[in-house]
């Protein structure tokens, strides 16, 4: 294929299990430069596993297939190496680290991922202030401990703040919209757009609902059922799905419908 080198993320025939239980049963996914893709699906369909496996979660065994970032195989890389390579995961359940201050953590993370220069001096501070302002995060946030005692909404905003500062090649967002009110969703969408739109970066948004997709306008929508991507299409697929439900979609697929 001539445009292989144009893809940020390529997942090919990915089969993944955890302790001998198969979860992903052959996933193919390709995100070209500058595109935002979405994966929708019910609970237990394998969405979060997909996100975790791309980031390199140690609990999963890759049985078959490969994951390429900018043509480079991620398989042998530790999560921190993938992060430095440009992968970012916004967690569904961000972990709290008591005693580790947000400001300190952000600076260290930027230094690890983007190099010491990026974490130094006023340049870092200016970017940090801008991002915090855009996300409506108060200054006092910086002296709190990472995710410790954060509300659900604060955790999600903090994930997006990290996204904006780390400026990854590929942002994977695992249900970042869940539990957020409409203002929260809008803010989060603004953050995602700011790192992808008009760039050559890409994003993979994992969600139950089409609402966040109204604010980020994905280029492609994929539907996952039982560890497989069963349908892919344009943004209208999300709306169809929201209106009719997964059972309907499964029936359509059984009838041989194609949503391309």
């Amino acid at each position: 294929m001539s445009n292989d080198d144009e893809a940020i993320l390529e997942v090919k025939g990915l089969k993944v299990g955890i302790e001998d239980t198969p979860i992903l049963k052959g996933i193919d996914l390709r995100i070209p430069k500058g595109e935002i893709h979405a994966i929708m699906g019910r609970n237990g369909s394998g969405k979060t596993t997909t996100a975790n496996v791309i980031m390199g979660h140690p609990a999963y065994d890759i049985e078959e297939g490969e994951i390429l970032l900018d043509g480079e195989n991620l398989q042998e890389m530790e999560p921190w190496e993938r992060s430095r390579q440009g992968v970012f995961l916004s967690f569904q359940y961000p972990q709290s680290i008591p005693g580790l201050q947000v400001g300190n953590f952000l600076r260290k993370s930027v230094s690890s991922v983007r190099g010491e220069e990026a974490a130094r001096g006023s340049d870092f501070r200016v970017k940090l202030n801008q991002a915090m302002e855009e996300l409506d995060i108060p200054k006092s946030f910086l002296s709190r401990y990472v995710n410790d005692g954060f509300s659900g909404g604060e955790k999600k905003r903090f994930e997006i703040l990290q996204l904006m500062l780390l400026q990854p090649r590929l942002a994977v967002l695992d249900e970042t919209d869940s539990g957020l009110d409409i203002d929260g969703i809008r803010t989060v969408a603004k953050g995602i757009n700011s790192v992808v739109k008009g760039t050559e970066n890409g994003a993979l948004i994992i969600t139950h609902y089409s609402r966040i997709l109204e604010h980020v306008n994905p280029d492609r929508v994929h539907v996952m059922i039982g560890g497989k991507i069963v349908a892919s299409g344009g943004p209208s697929l999300a709306i169809l799905l929201e209106d009719n439900g997964y059972d309907w979609l499964e029936e359509q697929i059984a009838k041989g419908a194609d949503f391309q």
Binding site: H57, P79, Q95, P98, G99, K108, Y145, L166
Partner: protein, 470 residues
């Protein structure tokens, strides 16, 4: 294998594990006897009453059995006949670093003491083996009447004060190791802060053991007169040897009415040092005593900083952290006695165990029958980094007054795989991630330290987390 390379091999990650050639001017033979005790007193040219206390203490030490609690197995391993009880490496005490013998000066240079002194300390005393080798205090404090001396000079120059308070907080009969210390003590700090004087910047003492099989028995006495305040910081290190050394200090604090003493320790002995220390302070009316106690090194530490809340409205604060790595047992904790009404205490204890290390919290909180409206709050948190490591808690509370308000919380946690994954997904290696979690866990302690110490401690802990990742 030569002795030198053996020592180097044993150093490993411990950055303070080097040793200097031993150039002693006086060195006692191994072992303890009444003669050794009398000889120490004679060399120091002490008054008769001090010799007598020493001898009494020695006799008590001989009769007193080993404690039957703590790590009794390790305690029984101590061979008191294989310890050198007195070793002098320098003639006199330098008041300029140029007066300190070169080897010793280099050691303290490497430990960063002269640099810290210039930047942020009010005074410094450094002890090498048995005696103080360097001492200085800022002139303005001296003019205000602050006394900051090594204990031997304190006894010579202020015998009346020492006689009045020495052993008044911790009598030699308190325990086997306070008896041992009283018998053979040498060095340590003597501090007197006059009424109403606030010593703004901390004073620091640094203790270094250099020789093999050394016993260091410093004795510290701090008296803060009415309405005064002082922050005392101590650090310590030793070379790594394959044989054991013994450090057994006694520290007595007196906070007179309205005074405030903060005593900060960052203990980083090498893993062949027994660290058996008795620390206790008496707080008079509205006085405040704070122990900020960090135990990172040593083979076995048994230490429970104590506060006797003797005067109404007095307050005790004990914040302690312990890190127990391979072959280490940190048996640490706190003791608070509420003797008077309206007294308050906070105890926060945090321990980390790793690579088979063992961290224990041992606490005693007492409220006496006549002490009304006392409040105490005790929090113990333990973090275990692997399956081989161990943590125990031995809290004791004796509340003899029904108006007391007591709270006690304890938690044990493990580092979660999800926590590590989260941090690693932000570009941090597993060791860095573990370092962040561990330093975060110690943060309530670290934030109480002078900044320079906090930075050092964070580095130290991060280093401990490296090389351990399988």
């Amino acid at each position: 294998m030569s002795e030198g390379s053996e020592a180097r091999d044993a150093v490993g990650d411990y950055k303070a594990g080097w040793h200097d050639p031993e150039n002693s001017t006086i060195r006692f033979d191994f072992g303890l006897s009444e003669k050794v005790v009398r000889d120490i007193s004679q060399i120091k040219n002490e008054p008769e009453w001090m010799t007598e206390i020493r001898v009494k203490a020695y006799r008590h030490f001989v009769e007193r059995p080993m404690p039957t609690w703590g790590n009794t197995e390790e305690l029984m391993e101590i061979d008191f006949d294989k310890v050198c009880y007195f070793l002098k490496s320098s003639e006199g005490i330098g008041s300029s670093w140029d007066d300190v013998p070169e080897d010793i000066r280099n050691t303290f240079d490497r430990l960063g003491i002269p640099e810290a002194e210039q930047k942020w300390l009010s005074g410094v005393t450094t002890q090498y083996e048995s005696e103080t080798v360097y001492h200085s205090i800022r002139e303005d404090l001296e003019k205000q009447g602050v006394i900051f001396l090594d204990m031997d000079s304190g006894l010579r120059e202020h015998e009346d004060i020492v006689k009045k308070y020495f052993g008044s907080v911790i009598p030699y009969s308190d325990n086997k190791f306070s008896a041992l210390n009283t018998a053979v003590w040498s060095g340590g700090s003597f501090i007197y802060v006059p009424k109403g004087v606030h010593v703004e910047m901390p004073v620091q003492a640094y203790f270094r053991i250099n020789a093999k099989n050394m016993g260091q028995f410093e004795r510290t006495l701090i008296i803060a007169d009415e309405g005064s305040s002082i922050h005392y910081v101590e650090g310590c290190t030793a070379p790594t040897y394959s044989t054991d050394s013994l450090h057994s200090a006694v520290v007595e604090l007196l906070a007179l009415p309205g005074a405030h003493i903060r005593y900060t320790t960052v203990q980083n002995w090498s893993n062949n040092v027994y660290n058996l220390v008795t620390k206790r302070g008496v707080a008079h009316e509205n006085a405040k005593i704070e122990w900020v106690d960090g135990n990172i090194g040593s083979k076995l530490t048994m230490k429970y900083p104590a506060v006797i809340l003797k005067g109404e409205g007095s307050h005790a604060e004990v914040i302690s952290v312990a890190y127990a790595g391979s072959g280490q047992h940190q048996d640490a904790g706190a003791k608070v006695h509420h003797m008077a009404s309206n007294t308050t205490s906070n105890i926060l204890s945090k321990s980390i165990s790793k690579d088979g290390g063992r961290g224990s919290y041992r606490g005693m909180a007492k409220v006496m029958p006549k002490a009304e409206n006392c409040r105490m709050n005790i929090v113990c948190d333990a973090l275990i980094l692997d399956e081989e490591s161990r943590t125990d808690t031995y809290p004791t509370m004796e509340i003899a007054n029904s108006t007391a308000h007591c709270e006690h919380e304890a938690s044990v946690s493990k580092v979660g795989d999800e926590q590590l994954f989260y941090l690693m997904s932000r570009g941090h290696t597993e060791a860095e991630a573990l370092g962040m979690i561990v330093n975060g866990f110690f943060e309530p302690f670290t934030r109480e330290l002078p900044m320079e110490y906090a930075v050092e401690l964070n580095k130290l802990m991060s280093l401990e987390m490296e090389g351990s990742i399988g």
